[in-house]
C-alpha cells in the first residue's frame, strides 16, 4: 500500500496545477481504471448552506467536494469520465432544498445528489428521491429519522448518508456525560429537528446509563439567532451543572462568546457542544474558546492517526490553506464513495449504483467504514474531546479524546423507539 500511496500523492501534487486542464486530458494523467464508456461528464449536484451566519460551514463542504473532484479528474475521472459538481445554496429551507434537488436532476442533468445540512431538508428531499430516480448521499443532516424511518422502515432505497447521525450528538455524548460529575443538565439548542432530536436522545440514553440525572432547563433558539443572552439567562435560572448544546456554525460561536460573558463556564462543571469541533467554530472562536469544553463533530482532523487521514489533511491544506472541517471530509467521502460504487457497478444507473453502495467498504480520512445495507448509513466512529489551546496549531484543538466503538453508540436495526 505505502509506495502506491506515495506515487498517488506525488502525482496529485503535480496535477493540482493542472486540475482544470486535467478535465480536458484525463487519460494522459491517469487512466488507472479502464474507460467504462459512461456518459461524460458525470454530474453531481451538491447543496449546502452558503449564506448567512452558518454560511462558513457550507464553504467547508464545497472545499471538500471540490478537492475530491479535482483529485479524481486528475487521475482520469470515473472510468474515463470526468466529474462535474455544481453547488447551490440550501438556505436550510425545505422548499429551497426540494427546489434545488428538482433543478439539479430535471434541468441541470445531475446523475447524483450530495450535501444537505438541515435534517428537515434531508427528510423532504429524501421523500422525492424515488420520483427523481437518483441516488442522494447526505453529508451533514443528521436526524435518525433519515436512516431509521425513511430507509429502513419505508425502504426509500435511493437515500444514503456518509456522516454519523445524531448518535454522535445524542448517544456518544451521553457515554461521555455518564462519567462526569454532573447531575443537573440543561440545553440551549436549535429550534428545529436536529436540536430537538439530539436533546431527546441525550436524555433517554443518559437516563439509561445514569438514572439519577435530572434535566432541569431547556431553551430552543430559532435559526438565525444573533443573540443568545436571553436563552442563557433563562437556562441559567434553572441552576444547571452541565450545559448540553447542539448549536453549530456562527451560532455556536456567538453562543459560546456570550456564555463566557455570563460566566457560565465558572458556574457549571461541564459544557458540551456536539458540533463544537467543526473547523469553522474552532477558527471562529479562536482564543475565546474556553479550555475544557467538550466538543465533537462528524469527523475531527486529528483523528485517526492513519495514512489516509494524513494524506487528506496534507492535500486539503495544500489546496485550501486551512485545516479541513468535518463537512469537508463527509463531502469528500461522498464523492469518493460514488466513484467506487460507479466503478463497481460499471454504470451510473440508479439501481445498479444503489446495489454497489450497499455494504460498500470505504477507507476514508475518518477511518475505515462500511455503508450498512439495512439503513444505508455509513458506520464509523468519531471521538469526543476537550478544547485546549496548543501553540502548535493556529486554532484550538481537542485533547483527552474519548472514543467509543460504533457498536457502543450506533443504534441498530430494527431500531427500537427512543423512549423519553
Amino acid at each position: 500500500m505505502a509506495p502506491r500511496r506515495g506515487t498517488t500523492r506525488r502525482r496529485f501534487l503535480k496535477s493540482t496545477a493542472l486540475a482544470v486542464a486535467g478535465l480536458g486530458l484525463p487519460r494522459a494523467l491517469g487512466g488507472a481504471t479502464a474507460d467504462l464508456k459512461l456518459k461524460k461528464p458525470i454530474k453531481i449536484g451538491c447543496q449546502t448552506i452558503l449564506s448567512g451566519p452558518l454560511g462558513g460551514y457550507g464553504e467547508f463542504m464545497r472545499k471538500g467536494a471540490t478537492l475530491a473532484m479535482e483529485e479524481i479528474n486528475a487521475q482520469g475521472g470515473i472510468g474515463g469520465s470526468p466529474i462535474e459538481i455544481s453547488f447551490r445554496d440550501e438556505e436550510l429551507k425545505v422548499d429551497v432544498g426540494v427546489k434545488n434537488a428538482r433543478y439539479f436532476v430535471e434541468d441541470w442533468g445531475a446523475d447524483f445528489l450530495i450535501g444537505i445540512d438541515s435534517s428537515a431538508v434531508a427528510l423532504a428531499v429524501g421523500e422525492i428521491m424515488p420520483s427523481l430516480d437518483r441516488v442522494l448521499i447526505v453529508t451533514h443532516g443528521a436526524t435518525e429519522k433519515y436512516n431509521e424511518d425513511l430507509v429502513f422502515k419505508r425502504h426509500v432505497r435511493q437515500c444514503f448518508r456518509v456522516c454519523v447521525p445524531v448518535y454522535q450528538d445524542g448517544i456518544a455524548s451521553a457515554l461521555v456525560s455518564k462519567d462526569l460529575p454532573v447531575k443537573r443538565w440543561a440545553t440551549i439548542s436549535p429550534d428545529y429537528e436536529y436540536g430537538h432530536t439530539s436533546w431527546r436522545m441525550f436524555r433517554a440514553y443518559l437516563k439509561r446509563f445514569k438514572p439519577d440525572v435530572e434535566f432541569v432547563g431547556e431553551s430552543f433558539a430559532k435559526f438565525g439567532t444573533v443573540d443568545f443572552s436571553s436563552h442563557i439567562s433563562k437556562v441559567m435560572g434553572s441552576s444547571p451543572e452541565g450545559i448540553f448544546s447542539t448549536e453549530w456554525g456562527g451560532e455556536a460561536v456567538t453562543m459560546v462568546k456570550q456564555a463566557k460573558l455570563f460566566k457560565v463556564f465558572e458556574q457549571t462543571k461541564a459544557f458540551m457542544i456536539g458540533m463544537g469541533a467543526a473547523m469553522d467554530v474552532l477558527q471562529g472562536l479562536g482564543a475565546d474558546y474556553p479550555d475544557g469544553v467538550w466538543a465533537s463533530g462528524r469527523y475531527y482532523f486529528g483523528y485517526p492517526d492513519s495514512a489516509e487521514n494524513k494524506r487528506f489533511n496534507d492535500a486539503f491544506r495544500k489546496r485550501w490553506d486551512t485545516y479541513p472541517s468535518y463537512p469537508s471530509e463527509t463531502a469528500y467521502t461522498a464523492v469518493q464513495a460514488l466513484k467506487k460504487a460507479v466503478e463497481k457497478a460499471r454504470s451510473v444507473e440508479t439501481e445498479k449504483v444503489i446495489e454497489a453502495l450497499e455494504g460498500l467498504d470505504l477507507d476514508r480520512p475518518a477511518g475505515k467504514c462500511v455503508i450498512r445495507k439495512e439503513d444505508h448509513q455509513a458506520v464509523y466512529a468519531v471521538p469526543w474531546g476537550q478544547i485546549r489551546h496548543d501553540p502548535k496549531f493556529p486554532m484550538p484543538t481537542l485533547t483527552n479524546l474519548k472514543l467509543f466503538t460504533t457498536d457502543e453508540y450506533y443504534r441498530k436495526p430494527p431500531f427500537a423507539p427512543v423512549e423519553g
Partner: protein, 284 residues
C-alpha cells in the same frame, strides 16, 4: 424574572440603534432603506478591521461607525438622490440591490468565515444581580443605548438643526418654501442614520459572530419595530425596540413555543387597531 427582562432590554439596544436610523431616514426622506441592516453589518466589519489594525476596541468603536457614515454619504449622494422623484418601488429596489451587493462584497473581501475578536477586557466582567450574573458588556450596551436616545432627543428638540429636520419631516414643501436646502439636509440625515446602524454593528462585533448576511436578520426585526412604533417616530422606534426585546425574553420564559410569533402578533395587532403605529402621526 425581572432579570430576564433586563437581559431582553440589553438585546433590544442593538435593534434600537438600527431602528432609530431607519425611522429617522424614513421620517425625513420618505425612503424605506432596505440596506439599513447591511450598514449594521458593515459597522461590525469595519470595526473589526479597525480592531485588527489598532488593537483597541475603543478605536474600533469610534472608527467603524464613521466609515459606515462615509458609505452612507456615498449611497445617498451617489445613488439615492437620483431616485427621490421616482415611485417608491424603485427606491425599494435600489436599496434592496445594495443589500445583495454589500453582502457579496463582504463575502468577497472577508470570506465566509465567522470573525470574532475577543471582548475587551474592561468589559468582560460581570455583576451579580440577586443570584443572576449580568455581563458588564450588557450594562455598557444599555448605557450606550440610553445615551444615544438622550443625545438624539437633545439634538432634535434643542438644536436649530434638529428643528429644521423636524420641520422638514412634518412638511417637506413648506420647509423648502421657507428656504431649507432639502438635498443637503437629506444627505446629513442619511449619514446620521448610517452612523447609528454602524454603531449598532460595531457594538455587536465583540459579542456576536460576524458573518456576511448578518444584517438580514436585524433588518426584519427593525422593520417590525418601526411599524410597531410608527414610521418616522424616534420615540416609537425606542419603545418598539424595548417592546420587542421584552416580548422575546419573556416569551422564551413563559411561552417558548410562540416566542417567534409574538413580535409579529404585536405588529399585526397594532396594524389593526392603530395602523399609523403607537407613536406615529395619522396621515390624511
Amino acid at each position: 424574572m425581572l432579570f430576564q427582562g433586563l437581559v431582553g432590554l440589553s438585546e433590544a439596544m442593538y435593534l434600537w440603534l438600527v431602528a432609530a436610523g431607519l425611522s429617522l431616514i424614513f421620517g425625513v426622506m420618505r425612503v424605506l432603506n432596505f440596506a439599513h441592516g447591511s450598514l449594521y453589518m458593515l459597522g461590525a466589519y469595519f470595526a473589526w478591521v479597525a480592531f485588527r489594525v489598532s488593537g483597541s476596541f475603543w478605536v474600533a468603536l469610534l472608527a467603524g461607525p464613521l466609515v459606515v457614515a462615509a458609505v452612507g454619504w456615498a449611497m445617498e449622494f451617489g445613488f439615492l438622490r437620483r431616485v427621490y422623484s421616482a415611485p417608491e418601488a424603485f427606491q425599494l429596489l435600489l436599496t434592496f440591490a445594495f443589500v445583495l451587493m454589500l453582502d457579496d462584497a463582504v463575502k468577497l473581501v472577508f470570506g465566509p468565515v465567522y470573525q470574532s475578536p475577543p471582548t475587551p477586557a474592561a468589559l468582560s466582567g460581570a455583576v451579580l444581580i440577586g443570584h443572576s450574573v449580568l455581563p458588564t458588556y450588557h450594562l455598557f450596551i444599555l448605557g450606550v443605548g440610553a445615551l444615544v436616545g438622550f443625545g438624539l432627543w437633545v439634538f432634535l428638540e434643542k438644536t436649530s438643526f434638529g428643528l429644521v429636520i423636524r420641520a422638514t419631516a412634518a412638511d417637506r414643501e413648506m420647509a423648502r418654501a421657507l428656504g431649507v436646502r432639502a438635498s443637503r439636509l437629506f444627505t446629513w440625515v442619511f449619514i446620521l442614520g448610517a452612523w447609528l446602524a454602524g454603531l449598532g454593528g460595531a457594538l455587536s462585533m465583540p459579542v456576536r459572530a460576524i458573518s456576511p448576511g448578518m444584517g438580514e436578520f436585524i433588518i426584519i426585526e427593525a422593520f417590525v419595530v418601526v411599524v410597531l412604533g410608527g414610521l418616522g417616530s424616534l420615540r416609537g422606534a425606542f419603545v418598539g425596540s424595548l417592546l420587542i426585546g421584552l416580548l422575546h425574553a419573556y416569551g422564551l420564559l413563559f411561552m417558548p413555543v410562540f416566542e417567534l410569533a409574538l413580535g409579529y402578533m404585536a405588529m399585526a395587532l397594532v396594524l389593526i387597531v392603530r395602523p399609523w403605529g403607537l407613536f406615529g402621526i395619522r396621515e390624511g
